[in-house]
Subunit: 153 residues, 2 copies
């Protein structure tokens, strides 16, 4: 049945960010619901952020739209324009190519959960607002184009 057994989908907190950029996302626990359901054009992840956890480094995409729906708890959305609190039922969207880096930070003392969806061409890459990093089809690079080494070589 297409209703998704969310709890049955493997949850992980892996990240391919190079050190030390992986550290703030250690409290991000993801379930790849879209892949589990056989979706290929639409990405959909269930994400739990532990207190202190970040959803990602603050970033934007050249070729991918993103949409987020808060399910429970509270997170702070941080963008160029400032901060906004998101609570259950709140939605946010980021159009591809808009150079306004965004991420969510859980500054509360309880878990929060959301669904994050994406579509477009991930391989067109994107940029990070606060750190010397971009992402490309070939992986993470410094803004001068030098590749970062894999964190676990």
């Amino acid at each position: 049945m297409p209703k998704i057994a969310i709890e049955a989908v493997e949850q992980h907190n892996m990240t391919s960010y190079p050190a030390p950029f992986h550290e703030p996302v250690a409290g991000r626990w993801q379930r790849r619901l879209g892949a589990a359901a056989g979706l290929t054009a639409l990405g959909a992840s269930h994400v739990v952020l532990k207190p202190g956890g970040w959803s990602s480094q603050r970033h934007w995409h050249h070729g991918e739209d993103e949409f987020l729906i808060m399910l429970s708890g509270e997170a702070v959305l941080i963008e160029d324009g400032g901060e906004t609190i998101l609570r259950a039922g709140d939605c946010a969207a980021w159009a591809m190519g808009e150079a306004n880096g965004h991420h969510l930070v859980n500054r509360s003392e309880a878990d929060c959960a959301f669904i994050c969806l994406s579509a477009g061409e991930r391989a067109r890459g994107g940029e990070y607002s606060d750190i010397d990093m971009i992402f490309t089809a070939e992986g993470y690079k410094r803004k001068d184009g030098t590749p970062y080494p894999p964190r676990e070589a």
Copy 2:
């Protein structure tokens, strides 16, 4: 700010279904959040189903993935395999090309609300499970290929 002011997005219950197939979706009130936020690759609608309302005729897509998140209330998901109740926090997904028609019906006495997302190639069309209709890049047709006339000519 990318947080969406959901109440500010126009709500409508329009449908282009030919008669009499438009009748069961009269209680479907949609807000096109993705378009309002400038998204082009990812479709995202906030939908309220009034008691008795259907989300659509039961259908599936040849080229489009779909993902649904219940926000409030209760709806019955109807598919080839049977019926499943969806409540706040439940998710369901339908991969493109899977010939398992689906829709939601609100059999409760209160409104229900959900977010429905899609990505892929809508113009590749799809099929309806319970009625003599398909949808194509050229519009709605009977299964023998005869076009349906527009409902309001």
